[in-house]
């Protein structure tokens, strides 16, 4: 959004998975539950993950980005600072919670609802897809229609003119990070429910994939990122069925490299450029 990709976002996400996991432990959940208890527990976990990730993102902006922004440092400097912050956070979590994979309790029973062809449609997947779509929709509306959303877009398009309109850039950047962190926290809980595991470096491959999806869709373009995510998912799924599942991550990297080489503006990049021209 701010012409700045937060490469430490993967660690913000990782923190969210840990927060979700500890909340489940704290609630004493060790078996699948249902009904109101399930809804309440999921909401609590979401809240905890969003708070942890959102808070971490705000702190990250303060210590790793703002000092550089104030000095007008280059984007490369911001990138290096972010990578530093990434390693720092990973190592802190590795030292504190070990380098082994931690598993989540199964919070909801994963029953097959119905089949489409060979694919089984399970409750947890339906839940996650619906929740993700709701989050995307809310974020999209928020950025499009609220005062803060307008401030974010103005800052992204032209920060100096945004100040001339009375936008408090520091505040907008902070709130953008907070928003991004909250979204990451939501995603972290979904990941926990779906894959039932986490580790200090869980964010890394996901970060690369998120970046690939964003590049596919055209950087800085919310709807593009959604389309890019779907495209990457389909390419991965198709590739895995042809060459085998173990090639899935390789396929994602190849897509990233190919797109960066041939279409750095992304699939939707051109339409976006035209809209801006």
């Amino acid at each position: 959004m701010l012409k700045l990709i937060n490469f430490a976002h993967s660690e913000i996400f990782m923190i969210g998975t840990f927060a979700a996991l500890f909340t489940m432990h704290g609630l004493g959940i060790d078996h699948a539950i249902g009904g109101f208890a399930l809804v309440g527990a999921l909401l609590l976990c979401a809240l905890a993950a969003a708070a942890a990730s959102g808070g971490a993102a705000v702190v990250l902006e303060r210590v790793a980005y703002r000092p550089l922004r104030k000095r007008g440092a280059s984007r490369l400097a911001a990138l290096i600072s972010a990578i530093g912050a990434s390693f720092f956070l990973q190592e802190v979590f590795a030292l504190r919670y070990g380098r082994d994979t931690l598993s989540f309790p199964r919070i909801l029973s994963k029953t097959v609802l119905f089949h489409i062809g060979d694919g089984a449609v399970r409750t947890d997947k339906v839940l996650v897809v619906v929740a993700a779509l709701v989050m995307m929709f809310v974020l999209d509306r928020f950025v499009a229609a609220t005062r803060l959303g307008r401030g974010i877009r103005a800052t992204a398009q032209d920060p100096e003119t945004a100040v001339l309109m009375g936008v408090n850039i520091d505040r907008v950047v902070m709130l953008t990070f907070l928003l991004g962190g909250i979204m990451a926290g939501g995603g972290a809980l979904m990941y926990g429910v779906l894959l039932e595991q986490t580790r200090f470096d869980v964010g890394f491959v996901l970060g690369i994939k998120a970046f690939t999806a964003a590049v596919l869709g055209g950087i800085g373009n919310l709807r593009g990122a959604l389309v890019g995510g779907f495209a990457l998912g389909l390419i991965e799924a198709y590739g895995s069925s042809v060459w085998g599942t173990q090639w899935k991550d390789v396929i994602a990297f190849v897509v990233l490299v190919v797109v960066l080489m041939f279409r750095p503006t992304g699939i939707l990049g051109e339409a976006l450029e035209r809209a801006r021209a």
């Binding site: 307008r150 103005a154 032209d158 001339l164 309109m165 009375g166 850039i169 801006r276 021209a277």
Partner: protein, 241 residues
Amino acid sequence: MLLELDDVRVHYGKVEALKGVSLTVEEGEIVSLIGANGAGKSTTLKTISGLRKVSSGHVRFAGEDIGHMPGHRRVERGICQAPEGRGIFPGMSVVENLEMGAYARRGSVRGDTEDDFDRVFQLFPALADRKSQTGGTLSGGEQQMLAIGRALMARPRLLLLDEPSMGLAPKLVSQIFEIITEINGQGTTILVVEQNAAQALARAHRAYVLETGRIVKSAPARSLLEDDDVRAAYLGGRIGT
């Protein structure tokens, strides 16, 4: 006195762009600041808006020293600028750009800006036909109108205009300056920066001439129109109106 710059110095790294600029703008005036490319006109306006830091000197607005106030708070005080190059948000529609102009009016409820939209569309009927068009698809003249209209949405006490005539055909330039006079007639104080001096001098009450970071002349605008040096340097030896 609405605005006063007192011996203001501004640096870009080691280069001194403003070398002790002093000027004043009284409530209700149109004041022109003319000067060649690179004289420091934009830097002066950016300093008033808080986009550039003063190294020394004072900026006073309505009796308050605002020299170190963050830019967004100066907008809340009533200083609005239509910047050089217009600064239209290319991905936003005409209406959204205008809404951005009212961003600083925090307390305003939704319906509150309706009168302001009416006023802007009355001043610039061309914008009324393009409400949902994105800023990036407007012509240069339309973008300039949008930039001025957007600044008006904040109901400024002081309107800063940085080269509103830039890149426009002569007929459009006179039209824009007519509207600037009209806005001033409605009670807004205006400080306009121009390289293209003829219109700026014909429409202003007073004017300053800026050369390489220094004010070299200050006089009623009409008398500068007849000043030989000014005519040679900024009017191509010829007076246009």
